[in-house]
């Protein structure tokens, strides 16, 4: 109720229906306006880049981690717990950690100096508030690798190793076992988890707000700036932009539901 | 002791076929009555109606002539023990047994004492502090029974009480239910799909097909006087010979048979496998056959015979001793007049 109502209200406002400033007529001006702005398209490009880069990288890393954590080793329980620990940690804290780690006077820069690679903070590559959103992507990877990894690990444990052993006895090499047995088995959970991650990375606000540049900024940050702008006339545009994000996310949910259903049935 | 009476009881489900309509049955006090029928016959619906877990669309349900239709389940005094035991896994055995007393506000010491006493009756003394997961299926079943009995219900309702047990536990449980039921003199209704379970437990059986009462009587009636071929088949009848009654003889494609029951509209005669005997010479009610198959069944032998005059007619007989006849040899079977059931 709260959710659907909120979205409907946002929709009405994106059409310029804003009784507070005396606007009660409907128009498509806001939508037309955002699609004409180069800043919107640049933001969209950046947001898509952040979404895809963090999803792909954290998915690959998560599979590697899960395969590793599945094996037997001393301290397995503790490490697995540590791996899950990240999931409830708020993103903001991760962002602060990344900031203190990656900034030009951060811990990594200091270690680089110790290793004799740089002499001055300015020589350290810009990794936060940077053009390629590396800080943002790093934060998402840090957090979402654990998320996807935990799900993949749970799947691997419930599937067991019988199929891989059967494949091995049929002559499959290590790589073949992974490619033709393990990967198809974990694919359903990997796909669904990574869609969730993409939708989140596409729409989240806090991380690009803390670790991103002012221009171009992620779509959510752009929407927020338009919303809080002293010029109330920009509000319909803010609504239109958040709805655009919501629309993309909704597409993601549909994809998620179809995929998880289809893959479950197999 | 409580008489349970169902009068024109109707419960229909719009979507599924599990309905009972205008059901009438008087369940005698202090005895075990089985509601027997295949799945979907409406027997579980009836049990839940008596328990108060379902309410009927129409009709009346009385305990000792007092209507209980509007009495909620917890005040009805008809306790049901479910098929899967449903021993609460988060409670100990003792807490499980005392559950009903706790709900009634019985003091802790009293209900613990009563739980201990009843656990002794079901041969589980000393099990109070165990967790249900530590018990075997048979032990859980006894906990479930004790938990129902401890509340001293007017009516005890048992849903398939033996179906999850293996052969030797079945016998133990049967004896336990019987002895407890007699000791408590409690009106008991057993629901089952298994005719054997009904026969060994019940004083009388109500056989249901498609939500209707098909036959009601003592267990032996269902073997000796089934009302239809369907009943006979449900009780393990396998030998059916088609024909019709001509005066006092039943006319079939393999000859005439004299019968003791002259039912005019009859279309079949039937005989139980154990009643078929070998004959030495052709007399009344004999039949020429060839042995098709002989199987040792552990405690008896089973023979399948093919009628000489009608190769599609196969009869089955059983015998505790091995007959000295080899497969495809001829023989003469005698179907005694007094054992022939006319359907």
């Amino acid at each position: 109720m709260l959710f659907g109502g909120g979205l409907l209200l946002a929709l009405a406002q994106s059409f310029g229906y804003l009784p507070i400033i005396g606007k009660t007529d409907f128009s498509l001006v806001a939508w037309q306006s955002i699609f004409q702005q180069t800043e919107f398209w640049q933001s969209l490009g950046l947001t898509l880049w952040i979404g895809f880069a963090s999803t792909v990288l954290s998915t690959v890393l998560a599979i590697v981690c899960a395969l590793l954590l599945r094996r037997q080793f001393r301290g397995k329980k503790a490490v697995t717990f540590l791996f899950q620990l990240n999931i409830p940690i708020p993103h903001i804290v991760g962002a602060i950690g990344i900031l203190l780690l990656f900034s030009q006077s951060g811990l990594l820069a200091r270690l680089a100096n110790l290793a004799g690679m740089i002499n001055d903070p300015a020589q350290f590559p810009a990794l936060v508030n940077d053009r390629y959103a590396i800080g943002i992507i790093a934060e998402y990877i840090w957090k979402e690798t654990c998320f996807i990894g935990t799900i993949v690990l749970a799947t691997l444990q419930s599937v067991g190793e019988d199929y891989e052993n059967a494949a091995a006895s049929l002559g499959a090499t290590r790589w073949q076992r992974f490619r033709y047995v393990t990967l198809p088995l974990i694919m359903p959970s990997v796909l669904t988890a990574s869609i969730l991650v993409f939708a989140f990375a596409f729409g989240a606000f806090e991380i690009p707000f803390l670790l991103g540049r002012r221009f171009p900024s992620a779509l959510s940050v752009l929407a927020w700036r338009s919303y809080t702008d002293t010029n109330l006339a920009l509000r319909p545009e803010a609504m239109a932009m958040s709805l655009f994000i919501a629309l993309v996310s909704t597409g993601m949910i549909l994809l998620y539901m179809t995929l998880s259903r289809k893959l479950v049935r197999q | 002791m409580t008489i349970v009476k169902l009068t024109n009881l109707t419960k229909t489900y719009p979507d599924s076929g599990f309905s009972v309509e205008n059901f009438n049955l008087e369940i005698p006090a202090g005895e075990i009555t089985a509601l027997l029928g295949p799945s979907g016959s409406g027997k579980s619906t009836l049990l839940k109606l008596i328990a108060g877990l379902l309410s009927p669309n129409s009709g009346d349900l009385t305990f000792d002539d007092v209507s209980v239709v509007s009495t909620p389940a917890e005040q009805r005094g008809a306790v049901m023990a479910f098929q899967n035991n449903l021993v609460f896994p988060w409670l100990s055995v003792g807490e499980n047994v005392a559950f009903g007393l706790k709900m009634r506000g019985v003091a802790k010491a009293t209900r613990q004492q009563q739980a201990r006493d009843i656990l002794t009756l079901v041969q589980l003394d000393g099990f109070e502090n165990r967790k249900p997961s530590e018990l075997s299926g048979g032990q859980q079943q006894r906990v479930s029974l004790a938990r129902a009995l401890v509340t001293q219900p007017k009516v005890l309702l048992l849903d398939e009480p033996l179906s999850n047990l293996d052969a030797h536990l079945r016998e133990e449980m049967r004896a336990l239910i019987k002895s407890l039921q007699e000791q408590f003199e409690i009106t008991t209704v057993v629901v089952t799909h298994d005719q054997e379970e009904a026969v060994i437990l019940a004083d009388q059986i109500a056989l249901l097909f498609d939500g209707k009462l098909h036959q009601y009587g003592q267990p032996s009636d269902f073997y000796q006087r089934p009302v239809s071929r369907r009943v006979a088949e449900f009780f393990g009848g396998v030998n059916f010979i088609e024909g019709q009654l001509q005066d006092t003889e039943f006319e079939t494609q393999v000859g005439q048979f004299s019968v003791s029951n002259l039912k005019q509209a009859a279309t079949f005669i039937s005989i139980r496998p154990e009643h078929i005997k070998l004959a030495i010479e052709t007399t009344e009610n004999t039949l020429e056959v060839r042995l098709l198959e002989r199987t040792f069944m552990g405690t008896y032998y089973r023979y399948r015979w093919q009628a000489e005059q009608a190769p599609t007619l196969i009869l089955t007989s059983t015998n505790t001793q091995d007959l000295s006849i080899r497969v495809s040899e001829k023989a003469l079977l005698h179907l005694p007049k007094e054992q022939l059931i006319v359907l």
Binding site: G6, V93, I96, G97, N113, T150, E206 | -
Partner: protein, 265 residues
């Protein structure tokens, strides 16, 4: 050699997970830590002392955060329990649609909703109030709680309730003695993660609370942007403490499905 790679890999994972926490932990105890020193040249507890002093407004933020998250998770469970039961136990027409509607708020960014709602909340006088903030926090927590409990109810045998009723339990007693003991693992997980989701909200609180309602993430954000690393680091550690405590408590009830929904924000 194989063993070595394995342990190296595990070490890398541990390092990767812990990496962002290392500078946070050091900074919270640092006094002088100028580039290029790898460790602080001078240590102090100034960050912690300041964080706990009234000047930082931590007590106020901590109290409001606890209250908002506590009430939010309680409300989520009260509403989500019957909803999850209906969703988990019954098959009905349009169930897929309901599932879709439930999933939507877990993926669609809540601020899109909050921006739309804001106007109405202003009109109703809910903007800038704690009640308004709690209501808007329900947008992301409620579907989560409902889905977790629906999963719990999918494996729940309603016959236990019938059995209890038959043994003489009233409807209320049935809820207390049968329903709650059966689903409490789900209740714990759902409640805790509702708490964490609410605890981590920044933009929803900022938008609806309008700065009048101060929660821990808002305080943390303002220190983070002011560049006071000592206090920011100390606050970060205070901020993640409940998450860690709750994870430890709920770890044994966690399953893959729960995790897939339990994403901090």
């Amino acid at each position: 050699m194989k063993r070595l790679t394995k342990y190296a890999g595990v070490a890398l994972i541990v390092l990767g997970v812990l990496a962002p926490f290392i500078p946070i932990l050091i900074w919270s105890f640092a006094r002088r830590w100028y580039f290029p020193a790898v460790l602080p040249t001078e240590w102090s507890i100034r960050g912690w002392a300041y964080a706990f002093s009234s000047a930082s407004r931590l007590p106020q933020a901590l109290w409001q955060s606890l209250l908002i998250s506590g009430v939010t998770s309680l409300l989520s469970i009260l509403i989500g329990l019957p909803a999850g039961r209906a969703l988990g136990l019954h098959k009905f027409r349009g169930k897929t649609l309901v599932e879709f509607l439930m999933l939507a708020p877990t993926i669609v960014p809540a601020f899109a909703v909050a921006m739309g709602i804001h106007v109405v909340f202003i009109r109703l006088g809910l903007a800038d109030t704690m009640i308004g903030v709690i209501l808007v926090h329900l947008v992301p927590t409620l579907p989560y709680v409902t889905l977790v409990l629906a999963g719990m109810f999918a494996n729940y045998d309603v016959n236990y309730e019938a059995q209890a009723r038959s043994l003489g339990a009233t409807p209320l007693q049935t809820i207390w003695y049968v329903l709650l003991p059966s689903i409490y693992p789900g209740l714990i997980v759902a409640g805790m993660f509702a708490f964490i989701i609410s605890w981590s909200q920044y933009i929803l609180t900022l938008l609806i609370g309008g700065g009048r309602v101060l929660t821990l993430p808002l305080l943390l954000f303002s220190f983070a942007s002011s560049g006071d690393n000592n206090v920011t680091a100390a606050l970060s550690i205070i901020f993640i403490a409940p998450a860690i405590v709750l994870l430890i408590i709920s770890a044994r009830y966690l399953t893959g499905r729960n995790v897939s929904l339990a994403r901090g924000n």
